[in-house]
Amino acid sequence: MDTLAAPLTIAFDYTRSLGPVLGRFMAGLRERRVLGARTSDGRVHVPPLEYDPVTHEPVTDLVEVSPTGTVVSWTWNPRPVEGQPLDRPFGWALIRLDGADTPLLHAVDADELHTGMRVRIRWAAEGRGHIRDIECFEPGETGISEIAEDLEPVEIMTTPIRLHYQHTTSAEEDRYLRALEQGRIIGQRCPACRKVYVPPRVCPADGVAPDEVVEVADRGMVTTFCVVNVPFAGQRLTPPYVVAQVLLDGADIPISHLILGVEAGDVRMGMRVAAVWRDRSRWSTTPENIDHFEPTGEPDAPYESYAEHL
């Protein structure tokens, strides 16, 4: 059975502190120079190591290597994807720069590659202290640059990350969302403990799939709540406002929702509330069909009726 599914993109700019070794390496790239780390055995590592793999001491000795090197291994990337150095077919290669003992991975812009091929760095138009200051490699040779004065290390590098997913619902989640589209709220009963879960789910107490479908009311009681006073990015309401756990009549587990239409200071545990649905023309397979909950004016529920949910 095909259940409801929807695309999801997650994006975040990772900012990373670089420290003394990578900070100088990135500062070098910004100035179109490549620095390698010399370890106690005399080997030069590019990209640099921060700690000596033999003595475990911090690496302090950075030496300049050539922007030209030799392809040690390669593969062909016929279909570049988002974020890669080039947007047309290109090669990936492990490249040992002249003066270095270890190869680094990067893209090569060439029509064909072979092991032993000589390639040089093509620098990005503008250096910013990032591995992407190397736009890619290209066939050819170029000399080592003039040794410049000491470089001020780069402290932070930023790397944007974007990942795309297809979220897929379970049969129970699918049933729940399709009911919401019709203005109904359903739960399902655990065959072992007989509790009604809203939304329906595998019973976390018994580890068994839920069974009987149960329609529950769009009204219930506040079990506990908090007053949101802190502003945050993407906030849609102006603080203060109330987020509460609402135990719907017929359910054995509360759902989280907004309580509006009442002063934040007047919301109480046990307060009876009812769903305020959005206009029917806007309903779809989403919990957003319920805009918020509001007090019904009924007498408060007694403490014993919700004590086990606290």
Binding site: H45, L49, W76, V81, I131, I161, D206
Partner: protein, 318 residues
């Protein structure tokens, strides 16, 4: 000190929902049935998964729903293939802190573009920002091995039961050299040896278990010798050939590299690349050979990270 044995195994390569919980329930139930153990008799639970795979926060917490955590249970999680969760559970029993354990792994590898997701396990300063896919990095490793004359493209194709012909996917890898990406769930039940013998006639006793890791820098290690697999096999006491081995090799050239490390009379073919459960499944399959009586000695192997960076070897005996 306790000895530890595998007493039950189940797995599924069916499609998962984003939460995966619904798919875990029947697999865990089947593993417990295979071991003849009740859910409440499990002393320790341990799982392996990663939120990056399906793009859902705290999925391992949701997964605990599948095992029933009321009243409270002893539970742990690793952000690795569940073979490493098995190692944690093994230590727990070895130390006498538990007599039984259930280990499970799950992953919805098809929710996103696995090749891109796996870029994020690379060095975050100098490699990950280039987004080289896992297949491209494996291809660089394959070429080094081919250039070194360790094997040929024909040898690689034979691992997949194919011939080295047709277009390259990521040269020198063809489509048959790359395991299919799949969703997957696996569960293995462990028991201390005295308990194990009461549960089934032929438990698969773990006689050696070790894991090792190679440096993160792709240029910092010899990609053709898999030093961490060699070290793990040595630490696990692999000595000469075992009857059967189940290697976790998402690429055919990796199977060939690993066969040099783990010698066996026969090798169980690798199926789909089910992230976070495939390694545990290999150990379960190897244990199954011992429990069924088809083998007296077996090795289950798991890998993690780019180009066989991290390797785990579990030796099983009747």
């Amino acid at each position: 000190m306790n000895t530890v044995a595998v007493v039950g195994f189940a797995h599924a390569d069916t499609s998962l929902t984003t939460s995966g919980v619904e798919t875990l329930v029947p697999v865990i139930t089947a593993a417990l049935a295979d071991a003849g153990l009740g859910r409440r008799e499990v002393d320790f639970w341990c799982s392996g998964s990663s939120d990056y795979l399906a793009g859902r926060a705290f999925s391992f917490v949701s997964a605990v729903d599948a095992i029933g955590a009321v009243p409270p249970i002893a539970e742990s999680h690793v952000e690795m293939d569940a073979a490493w969760a098995l190692y944690e559970a093994y230590l727990k029993i070895l130390a006498g802190e538990a007599e039984t354990a259930l280990v499970y792994g799950f992953g919805k590898g098809t929710a996103g573009d696995l090749d891109r997701v796996l870029s994020l396990q690379l060095d975050p300063y100098t490699v990950a920002p280039l987004w080289p896919g896992a297949v491209s990095i494996a291809a660089l490793q394959a070429r080094l091995a081919l250039d070194a004359g360790l094997f040929t493209e024909d040898d690689m194709a034979r691992v997949a039961g194919r011939r080295a012909e047709g277009p390259y996917l990521s040269c020198p890898l063809r489509e048959h050299d790359v395991a299919r990406v799949a969703d997957g769930v696996a569960a293995v039940v462990l028991a201390a040896n005295d308990r194990a013998r009461g549960l089934r006639e032929r438990p698969a006793r773990i006689s050696g278990f070790a894991h090792r890791v190679d440096p993160q820098g792709l240029g910092e290690r010899d990609l053709t010798t898999v030093p961490s697999a060699v070290a793990a096999a040595r630490d696990a006491g692999v000595d000469g050939a075992v009857d059967v081995a189940a290697l976790h090799a998402p690429f055919t050239h990796q199977e060939l590299l690993l066969r040099e490390v783990v010698r066996a009379g026969s090798y169980l073919p690798f199926g789909a690349n089910a992230m976070f459960s495939a390694g545990l499944s290999r150990i379960g399959a190897a244990a199954g050979e011992v429990m069924s009586g088809r083998a007296r000695t077996a090795v289950g192997h798991a890998t993690s990270g780019p180009a066989l960076q991290q390797n785990l070897v579990c030796v099983l005996e009747a």
